[in-house]
Amino acid sequence: MTRQRRVTVTSPQTAVVLTARRGGVSVPPRRLSAAERERAERIRRRQLRLAACTLAGGAALLVGLPALLHVAPVLLALRIADVPVAWLAVAVLPYPLLATLAWWQLGRAERTER
């Protein structure tokens, strides 16, 4: 790690809030330009749609899998490598699924922003 001069980093917005508090007056935040605004609105809508997809996947896992285990007790009798399938479904299966969802979401979200 190279030694760099360390400076205090604060976003313009926090700086505004902090200055306002010190001065005892409130300063309205900087307005977005029309182009920025349009772009931000477009990105927000796309991110929201993407988030809905990922959340649906996550909900299918977190709501659906317990429900499946509840209605199909037979999974406790089925075994893979002598381990009950129902145990694998809670102890192992969710983690690769969650990681895959996270990876997919990360790539899509970064592309949306570009």
């Binding site: 980093v9 935040p29 285990l69």
Partner: protein
């Protein structure tokens, strides 16, 4: 002797912490290491901070106590970072706010909302912190025989000193170091245990038989007053005195040391499944004995998955990323890191259910992880691995406690009584000094249960504030305030009431003891309804939209 295992962890923590001192200059340095941390290092730090005593000891203990269904807890803990990634990480970082209360003021421009959020931070962090210190005391007592208060005081002292010296910059290195440490100290003993127990025990662990009769004469030291349901007459040695119990309910006193005879029928405990029994093997949670395992499982998943984003010590950690994009990457990497760690509590839990089923009676299930090696191998190897696990467990509560004390100190010194660096340092020490006595009185609590209640409070207060604040332009300060107040009452308030009322096991007890399933939607709806009745503050729309612009190119 084994208790000395905690010593290297404390020393390393202090050393790495001290390394941060020389460069510590401003409040921003102290709180977020001036945001110069790479996503991978930050993800390791997030995981290191997040893997608390509840993960290291609590999950395996809950498996022994409640059965395989307890493995849903870590699934929820991990899913929390997926939700964080999807909904919160990047925009939250772009607010430039240091803490949730800071976010509340930056987004909605209400100092009152900021102070209320700071109070919620204190509630959540307090609920999370006290059990960490409790676990420290219990583990050192089990492995080292030191009195409970010694572990608590040692943990408190090392946390306060590290923070007062180095702050968050120190904590980032400490946390990343501790994540690697915990991963190694958890996985290596697990693999050793799997090999050392032999094929027979491995087979038993996968085909558990109900723990219905004591295989040998078994000594149980009750941690709490415990109501036993005796099914067959049994003669026990209660503190050396023979005592015959007829069928019916009997209370074993706190700290009582009872020896149950070999082949005696194991007494039941209401609302708790016998290890190895059919309901123990079922992979759903039925903590309150409610008879609604699916609802109970969902409730825990809602609390843990949605609560993660509201944990104050986790949120502040995302601000150490340089920008929104790397905050998002941090969250994604964290999902993978946590998933690796959480593959292993099942090993300890299943082996514990076979080898230490009597913990189900004593109530000491939280110590299952550190008690396993000596049960498997009473010789040198067992001692060595007990020491390794003790060090890991101590690393776990130290890491989490560091972040929590920092979050509480931040809430006091940054939001409630704004001041400079000196006040922040003093607050860190004062916070620890306030929590240690609380933990001394909380020797009797269940670590996993109390930590989950902190998640439920976070899910019912900060989760709606963050999600609506980031994605919904019409949120008003009043809406946020009322919604959070309703969420706080329906989570913390209701759980507190259920502790006092002690409702009978059933659906009612489930809804009162684990309210997340209804308190989170209630908080969301209240926040939306009250906001719709008012007008958002001027400029709020710009403030919200800016959170979705990639700041590295918005200068153009």
């Amino acid at each position: 002797m084994i208790a000395l295992a905690a010593l290297p962890v404390i020393l390393a923590t202090l050393l790495i912490g001290a390394r941060g001192v020389a460069t510590l200059r401003s409040t921003s340095d102290f709180l977020v290491a001036s945001r110069r941390i790479s996503p991978t290092l930050n993800a390791a730090a997030v995981s290191g901070e997040y893997l608390s005593a509840a993960s290291f000891l609590g999950v395996a203990g809950l498996v022994v106590k409640n059965g395989v269904g307890a493995l849903w807890y870590p699934v929820g803990f991990t899913a929390g970072y997926l939700l964080m990634l999807v909904l919160v990480a990047a925009p939250m970082r772009r607010t430039g706010a240091l803490t949730v209360p800071d976010f509340a003021e930056a987004r909605l421009g209400s100092p009152r909302l900021r102070r209320f959020s700071a109070l919620v931070v204190l509630v959540i962090a307090g609920l999370y912190l006290v059990p960490q210190f409790t676990a420290a005391g219990q583990v050192l007592r089990v492995v080292g025989g030191s009195p409970y208060w010694v572990g608590v005081v040692v943990a408190g002292a090392s946390v306060a000193i590290t923070l007062a010296l180095g702050g968050m910059r120190a904590a980032t290195y400490v946390q990343a170091f501790q994540f690697v440490l915990k991963l190694v100290l958890f996985i290596v003993p697990a693999l050793w245990l799997l090999l050392a127990v032999g094929a027979d025990t491995r087979h038993q662990a996968l085909h558990p038989a109900e723990y219905s009769r004591f295989p040998v004469a078994t000594e149980v030291q009750f941690r709490l007053d415990t109501r036993l349901e005796v099914l067959e007459p049994i003669t026990v040695l209660a503190d050396g005195v023979p005592l015959t119990l007829g069928p019916g309910e009997h209370v074993a006193p706190e700290e009582g040391r009872w020896v149950f005879p070999a082949d005696g029928r194991v007494p039941g405990i209401r609302g708790v499944a016998l290890p190895g029994s059919e309901s123990w093997q079922r992979p759903l949670l039925d903590t309150a004995g409610s008879g609604h395992p699916l609802l109970a499982t969902w409730s825990v998943l809602v609390a843990t998955a949605l609560g993660t984003m509201g944990l104050p010590h986790v949120i502040v950690r995302f601000h150490t990323s340089p920008d929104g994009r790397s905050a998002r990457r941090t969250a994604a990497i964290t999902v993978g890191l946590l998933g690796t760690f959480y593959l292993f509590p099942a090993v300890y839990g299943l082996l514990g259910g076979i080898l230490l089923p009597e913990l189900y009676l004593s109530g000491g299930t939280d110590t299952a992880v550190v008690a396993l090696p000596s049960r498997v191998d009473p010789g040198v190897a067992g001692t060595v691995f007990t020491a390794l696990l003790t060090a890991g467990a101590f690393a776990a509560f130290l890491a989490t406690s560091l972040g929590l004390v920092l979050a509480m100190a931040g809430a006091v010194a940054h939001d409630l009584l704004p001041g400079g660096l000196r006040r922040l340092r003093v607050s860190a020490i004062a916070t620890t000094a306030a929590v240690v006595p609380l933990a001394l009185f909380a020797a009797r609590i269940d670590v996993g249960a109390v930590v989950t209640s902190a998640f439920a409070v976070a899910a019912s207060t900060f989760c709606p504030l963050l999600v609506l604040g980031i994605w919904w332009r019409r949120l008003t300060a009043r809406g946020a305030f009322v919604g959070m107040a309703v969420g706080l009452l329906s989570s913390a308030g209701v759980m507190g009431a259920s502790l006092l009322l002690r409702p009978d096991p059933g659906l009612g007890a489930l809804l009162l003891g684990q309210p997340a399933l209804w308190s989170v939607p209630l908080a969301f709806l209240t926040m939306i309804a009250v906001s719709l009745a008012g007008h958002p503050p001027p400029g709020a729309e710009s403030t919200m939209l800016r959170l979705h612009l990639d700041e590295t190119r918005s200068d153009a």
